[in-house]
Subunit: 239 residues, 2 copies
Amino acid sequence: MTNEHIVAAFDRDLETIQARIMKMGGLVEQAILDAADSLAARDEELARKVRRRDSAIDDLEEQINDDAARVIALRAPTATDLRLVLSVMKIAGNLERIGDYAKNMAKRTSVLVEMAPIEGANVSLKRMARDVQLMLKDALDAYVQRDAELAMDVIRRDRDIDQLYNALFREFITFMMEDPRKITPCMHLHFIAKNTERMGDHVTSIAEQVVYLVTGEFPDEDRQKADRTSTDASITEGD
Amino acid sequence: MTNEHIVAAFDRDLETIQARIMKMGGLVEQAILDAADSLAARDEELARKVRRRDSAIDDLEEQINDDAARVIALRAPTATDLRLVLSVMKIAGNLERIGDYAKNMAKRTSVLVEMAPIEGANVSLKRMARDVQLMLKDALDAYVQRDAELAMDVIRRDRDIDQLYNALFREFITFMMEDPRKITPCMHLHFIAKNTERMGDHVTSIAEQVVYLVTGEFPDEDRQKADRTSTDASITEGD
């Protein structure tokens, strides 16, 4: 087998894996939108659908990991190619987590329909979910087109999501102080807001992978650290 | 180079990476304990230390990923060995997340010292953190000794953590209903409880990797699914 044959085979393998990533991404985008719709419309049937469909997302991640491991074992890719394969596994991991958060949102819908609705919150939550879904769409487009500029744009937009979250956090506290009966539903809605904010962090991770693949460097170290912090350490009133 | 030389070189590389994993694990265990102590003692200085030391944990993860990628590129390990190297990257990823949660706990300590203390919560939170730290210690011991039994024991103990969390969740709701001034501190304490529960999920992930390495299979598919769900989808009152 000549070297070119090996290269062509590697490229074919990688295309197959990337196709699966795009399929997985499509399912995750749908899950985000459907979960937010099920919450806004108090539609338990749609919520159940989102929960059922999450296993297809998990299965795709497993397939992508198996494919990637097989490619590494078979083709023994060097430096740049290896980076590409490893980044695919990371992106699949991020997508799986986003899918989990969407499933979680759908689960809480089933709990929240039993409680009095909290006016106003659903509109903000739906807007946040919609923004995250559009960020994810652009992050995946940036990945396929190896477009670092578009990826940087996605990273910047994550700040808006953080701001939407902070505004909602304050709103929930106000609701709870006004009326103790709102405490339990607001705790659930707050979880949904926090998880949507975390979805944005995972989308940002995907965009950072794209920048790394194209430029060989992660975007601005400070910004990256800040993001990593915000994933789990955002304490909502800033630090 | 004979085949045996290659094997010996691979084993040496792997030992180096494993030593780094153990070092990283030690730092993360310390971070969990110190973060919980800083919260219980309202010790801002200790909290600042935990936050500063998180970058050493992040650096170790980066080194481990670089090492692992280099081993794959250089030694082109096959099936079982490749699984070993990939599992190391996953474990490092879990440790980094646990470290982030500890840093987050320390950050909230700095916010909570400004507020009236919530009696009782700190004891439960400290116990939860201590249990998670012991689970992590055992998961890493199980990894080094390739002890699937010990790993399974860690996985079982995660249920206790989930129960501690659920009890705390209900306690916080009661506090908030009794006194609206407790709403803001309880929101922060609730985050800490949730993040500690998530640490437990990441420790469980490490233990599952160990079971997979030793037996070639993930522990009982149902249990694994349940865990994955509980990571992000626990809706606290069960589903």
